[in-house]
Symmetry: C2
Subunit: 142 residues, 2 copies
Amino acid sequence: MSYSIGEAAKMVGLTAHTLRFYDKEGLLPFVKKTSSGLRAFTESDIEWLKIIECLKGTGLPLKQIKQYIDWCMEGDSTIPQRLNMFIEQKKRVEEQKAKWEKHLEKINFKIKYYEDAAKHGDLNVFERNPKLLEEKKRLFED
Amino acid sequence: MSYSIGEAAKMVGLTAHTLRFYDKEGLLPFVKKTSSGLRAFTESDIEWLKIIECLKGTGLPLKQIKQYIDWCMEGDSTIPQRLNMFIEQKKRVEEQKAKWEKHLEKINFKIKYYEDAAKHGDLNVFERNPKLLEEKKRLFED
DNA sequence: TTAATCTTTAGAGTTAACTCTAAGTCAAGA
DNA sequence: TCTTGACTTAGAGTTAACTCTAAAGATTAA
């Protein structure tokens, strides 16, 4: 049993256009076609799409995803490169998470700031709450 | 005391080109110019840049950042919109964080998978370790 | 004062990742 | 069989966010 491009697209939350674009870019060399030329996605292909989505969703550019796919197609000799790629990607994700943590602190500060401002209808927040000014200094200096 | 565009750029980790582009897009209406036409960034402007970086870094498009800046320029009447924007952005960041958490699980699985593959020089990982197959099924189904 | 190094503008070019169009082919239901 | 809707390709167009260029003006150090 296999899926058409439209069915596969729906399953992974992309459009058929996007899947064709990925194919054109060489990201889907594993997808076979029927005798009449229609792409037929297997269960295994859907899993490929999910791992592509995982890498794309964590910010890896399509070019590097293609590099990974190429390694996979090349065979067992590229296992070290693939392992290394996932280790690097894990590192990037964790760095990114730390960055977002810092950004989130600033956003939380702004929420506190504007909550007070909204309550009083003006921006004299720091006069009312000098501790918030200290927090701001801490958050925005580097 | 104030900073030239190049100094300001260095301080926030952007290029002067990018700052001019932001200015052209209307993101920096607060930056004043000297009598001879050079941009002069104040300490306060640098703080604006940092909040722009925070919003951009958490995935808010420049158009919506401009919307926020416009609200700030408009005055106290837009405090509720600004509060709302930061609340929404916080929500988005937390959703994104949850998504990354899930992606990270898949990446960690792949690391385990390729570590075993690398150790043995082949991809018969699931034959050696059926529990990893279970984990894969759990991670890649939905 | 002069050379080197900024900065200014308008506008063109780039990159990534889609997104769509046209013209034709294929498949499934009535 | 016919119609409707999904599929095919090549290739053009779009969007966001830069990134760069050219030509001219401003600033700074020697």
